[in-house]
Chain length 179, copies 2
Amino acid sequence: MDITRMEALLRACATLLLLTTACLVRFDTQTSLIFPEYSRTATFRDMNALYVLVFMDVAVAGYNLVQLVIRGLLSSHMKQDMNGSYKHLAWISFLFDQAVVYMLFAANSACLTASLLAVRGEHDLFWMKLCNKFNRFCNQIGGALLCGYAAFFLMALVSSLSAYSLFRHYSPKKYLVLK
Amino acid sequence: MDITRMEALLRACATLLLLTTACLVRFDTQTSLIFPEYSRTATFRDMNALYVLVFMDVAVAGYNLVQLVIRGLLSSHMKQDMNGSYKHLAWISFLFDQAVVYMLFAANSACLTASLLAVRGEHDLFWMKLCNKFNRFCNQIGGALLCGYAAFFLMALVSSLSAYSLFRHYSPKKYLVLK
């Protein structure tokens, strides 16, 4: 299978997973009694980490779509000619891919930490458990996190492929010289 | 400058930063009054994220030392011959480098999230601010996180270099064929 096709396919799958994650978190609400006669509605706005995750997922999905369009338009040129301006494009997309994967992983992990605090509480710090009050809400966030980590895994593969397709144009003998 | 030398230098610097981070977090304690007549000592054990960060930093520092030793012993062979078993070694160290960088970034980001919760509290979730009670403790954790992100940045450079030195041995025309 062609390497550019494989990259495009992985990017498309990752985009779908990212949008699923964003929707799962964004539209997750539950109203519940916390103290007697005091009810509250839990949404993704209650926790900054969730807010950042939704933002990041939508941004990365947008970035993927832009990349898919650019690569679709330019793929035939990029294969022939690595000396011209396409070299810069390949470097820029390598750097962006790397940055995007780290951002995605950080956003997911931040959410996971905050969620674990909400599930178990932190007795030493006087932070109460909340997931026993908002059961359905927490399960949906858990599903969204699974989706988010799957998307991260696909994006990590994409970033390795983009490193491979950039660096294989360089000479194995001399430092940063094109073949 | 030679690329293997540069990688070794970056690895050594990253190891020093990682050990600094681990020590800063590990030996950070402060005793303070939280409620009147109720004092508590804050240590890195109070928060799981800090515990994981110390563990991860020490593990990654150990991994870096192992890599430095292996590369120091084998570097002259690896340059000449990429077809033999050194190819497997290059692939394994590429994969480990990638995994280690993600782990490091995730541990740092998890700590940052938990620390921001401790600094600002989360009023919606009834989690109280704690850093106004443990000022010096929180500042030291902040410094450790800066150190940790610097170490992550160096390790990200190292992982890019290791991708470069693996993939430049591959053919630009055919899929996964060595030159």
